[in-house]
């Protein structure tokens, strides 16, 4: 066991746990955001750099601070480590800089994006972004790639977290898509037109933190926050069959896996459950689903009274910080 101090809060975790997981054990506002790290996917993390934290004391044995900010999602804890996240100006400024980088080539087409309302990048920029852009050049665009009848790829929205690549590697039998090109021309593609077609391919939609991979059967049907999330299950021969239904009235508009408060799926589901079972009668309804991941979805239906909800409730301190001047 290792004892670490995270933002002044002491927490004891197993050896080999990452700083991010230790912070998640504390929970609440101190947890660093993560765009590319995904607990169920081995090898993910370290790429988006939004989870950077400052280690002010390496360990009890070697109390020197780490010279650079470290990615908390891949750095294992040491006994006696002292980590600063929300209490460190340097970390917040670096994070602000990285969010800006993620946004300069993002189309910001939230009004027409199916992911809006449950988008990690939206939440991240709401909390750590700045309201103006300093980027004047044309934003990067890509040629359209068709991934088949179920999955819609919008490469312009992609932040290259590699989650969908790991998913295809680890959940499905064969990966047909990957990252092509390099630098800011890197893109998700299948190289030569290819359909992503296997029983679990739909999971790439769930792991995508932005609207780059969306469900074609749900495309433009509705906004996320108008639909009601319901826990449901069915007897499925290929997967656990435990899903979240997103319904409006009697219509099931969308089926997704159940996600926890960090938008990580509890159990991956198969394509039959996700794309084909769109009738209420296909499912056994368990009850309303509580959505934690910093969104307005649940608020509309179950959590808060709809009247008198402050439009911008208690903005976190970090949002009012200025960009670094030098």
């Amino acid at each position: 066991m290792a004892k670490i101090t995270f933002d002044g809060i002491e927490v004891e975790v197993e050896d080999g746990t990452t700083i991010l997981q230790a912070a998640r054990k504390i929970g609440g506002d101190v947890v660093p955001p993560a765009m590319c790290f995904y607990t169920p996917l081995k090898g993910s993390g370290g790429k988006c750099r939004v989870c950077l934290v400052k280690v002010t004391q390496g360990s009890a044995r070697d109390p020197r601070p780490m010279p650079k900010l470290v990615a908390s999602c891949i750095t294992p804890v040491q006994d006696g480590m002292v980590v600063e996240n929300t209490t460190n100006e340097e970390v917040l400024n670096a994070r602000k800089g990285i969010v800006e980088m993620l946004l300069i080539n993002h189309p910001l087409d939230c009004p027409v994006c199916d992911q809006a309302g449950e988008c990690d990048l939206q939440n991240l920029s709401y909390e750590h972004g700045v309201s103006a852009t300093r980027y004047e050049e044309p934003r990067r665009t890509f040629n359209k790639v068709d991934l088949g009848p179920y999955i819609q790829l919008h490469m312009t929205r992609c932040i290259l977290c590699y989650r969908c690549v790991y998913t295809a590697d680890q959940i499905t039998e064969k990966r047909v898509h990957g990252v092509l090109g390099r630098g800011d021309a890197a893109e998700i593609g299948t190289y030569i037109e290819n359909v992503i077609d296997n029983d679990f391919s739909g999971n790439v939609i769930d792991v995508c933190p932005v609207g780059a991979l969306t469900d074609k059967t749900w495309r433009f049907k509705n906004r996320v926050w108008f639909t009601k999330p319901l826990n449901a299950h069915r007897d499925c021969p290929t997967c656990s069959g435990k899903v979240t239904l997103w319904s409006r009235g009697d219509a099931v508009l969308r089926v997704t896996a159940r996600k926890d408060e960090y938008a990580e799926v509890e159990e991956f589901i198969c394509n039959t459950c996700r794309f084909d079972k769109k009738e209420m009668s296909d499912w056994t309804i368990e009850g309303p689903r509580h959505i934690d991941s910093g969104s307005v979805i649940s608020a509309n239906h179950y959590e808060l009274p709809v009247v008198n909800v402050p439009i911008v409730p208690n903005l976190p301190k970090s949002t009012v910080k200025k960009m670094p001047t030098e």
Binding site: V50, L69, G97, I104, G183, D184, A186, P324
Partner: protein
């Protein structure tokens, strides 16, 4: 003329053949190491020599070797980084082309020291003709019993392979190199674990530059203490410098570390002064990734001491008034060179070579290039300079591998030392975009 360790026989006709190479004392170190020394003794000699990594970072090679994990039953690897692609660097290329056996000798001796039975030379894809030279030399070594099973009857086996890269700058970063060598996309890995623990094929691996490995035979032959006598302080030995730019005699020079920078530029033995007797404007002393220094700061440090060609002296003053020895690519600019244009050129290179894995580098390098392009072509705004400084700062230190830092430093340092020139470009776009136009204000001020 100082002592020549690496280039002593480089111009001997036929040195690329085993016969001539052995006539000039080649492969003595292999015999000495394998027959009379234990691997640990070789590592100890390299440690005593103070030899530092010649690829750019300057990390002591002996230390790196002693960090190598040695678990039972797991193979260890030595990988030679011959993916030399830093703009301005061409020392390894010349060395391997002229004297391939010297590298192979270094590989055998070093592999013996590390207990590696399979070693690789990862060579830049553009240098395919050198790959053929190396393969020919390796075949000769195999035939002479210097490689393969039971080398020189000692019972030590070593296989040496040459693997070409696809021509990506990022594959010169050690973990990206290992990924590429494994046949994957050349993305740098997250560290830790370091290659010394989990490197090539998940086994302990040492990655060294060509020049570092090629220095090992001399150290084994003449002892590490002897090597440590060359040079100044912690910068021991000799270093190949690729001198380019506006100088009379560009080329690869082997120097004893500690030669004054002024002597290196103006002495006829080395660069031979500035081309056509012009005035020196700036120097990039260690390849495009290191900070650029104006003429006054390259000759003397901020505290007025003479600058020497050593790791310590060149980095004196940190990033405010210093630079780095880096890979030893000495690029000289005369008064007619435009720093803005040059900075844009560097930024374009890093934009093109970023692997695109982590966000600050992927987005930031392109952003810097576009802003610099705008300034260079007369469309800059006054706030662009501060924007560049801020973007460079957002990238620096926040990326997976050092490519982000390497992209940020040249831009940040050019603005730090040549801010007036950037401002002139923005204020006078018409003058600045005229063919051959160069800002001379700073030089005039310096001479008055």
């Amino acid at each position: 003329m100082g002592i020549k360790i690496l280039t002593e026989h480089i111009n001997v006709p036929g040195i690329e053949t085993l016969e001539v190479y052995r006539k000039h004392g080649g492969y003595r170190s292999v015999e000495k190491a394998i027959k009379t020394m234990t691997p640990d003794e070789v590592v100890e000699e390299v440690k005593t020599s103070g030899l530092r990594g010649r690829g750019g970072a300057g990390f002591p090679a002996g230390m790196k070797w002693s960090f190598l994990a040695k678990p039972e039953g797991v193979p260890r690897y030595l990988v030679c980084n011959a993916d030399e692609s830093e703009p301005g660097t061409f020392k390894d290329r010349v060395f391997m082309e002229k004297n391939p056996h010297a590298l192979i000798e270094g590989m055998i001796t070093s592999s013996y020291a590390l207990g590696a039975n399979t070693s690789y030379i990862y060579i830049r894809g553009e240098l395919l003709f050198i790959l053929r030279i190396l393969e020919k030399a390796i075949a000769e070594a195999y035939a002479a019993g210097l490689l393969g099973k039971n080398i020189l009857g000692s019972g030590y086996d070593l296989d040496l392979h040459v693997a070409p890269g696809g021509g990506a700058y990022i594959c010169g970063e050690e973990t990206a190199l290992l990924e590429s060598l494994e046949g994957k996309r050349g993305n740098p890995r997250n560290k830790p674990p370091f290659p010394a623990v989990k490197g090539l094929f998940q086994s302990p691996t040492v990655v060294n530059n060509v020049e570092t490995i090629a220095s090992v035979p001399w150290i084994v032959n003449n002892s590490g203490a002897e090597y440590a006598k060359i040079g100044v302080g912690r910068s021991t030995g000799t270093k190949l410098i690729s001198a380019s730019g506006n100088i009379n005699r560009p080329g690869v020079y082997e120097i004893e570390l500690g030669v004054p920078v002024e002597e290196f530029i103006y002495s006829d033995e080395y660069c031979g002064g500035i081309w056509k007797g012009k005035q020196l404007k700036a120097v990039v002393p260690g390849g495009s990734s290191v900070p650029i220094l104006p003429a006054d700061l390259i000759m003397k440090t901020a505290t007025g001491e003479q600058r020497l060609m050593t790791y310590e002296s060149l980095s004196d003053g940190g990033f405010v008034s210093g630079s780095m020895l880096g890979s030893g690519a000495f690029i000289v600019f005369d008064e007619d060179q435009c720093i803005v244009r040059n900075t844009w050129n560097y930024a374009r290179f890093y934009h093109h070579e970023s692997c695109g894995q982590c966000s600050p580098c992927r987005e930031g390098t392109g952003w810097m290039e576009r802003v610099l392009h705008r300034i260079e072509h007369g469309h800059g705004h006054q706030q662009d300079i501060d924007l560049l400084v801020s973007v460079a700062k957002q990238i620096e230190g926040n990326t997976i591998c050092p490519l982000g830092d390497a992209a940020a430093w040249p831009v940040a340092s050019a603005i730090r030392h040549f801010r007036e020139e950037f401002e002139w470009h923005i204020k006078h776009p018409q003058e600045a975009t005229a063919p051959g136009a160069v800002y001379r204000g700073q030089l005039a001020a310096a001479t008055v």
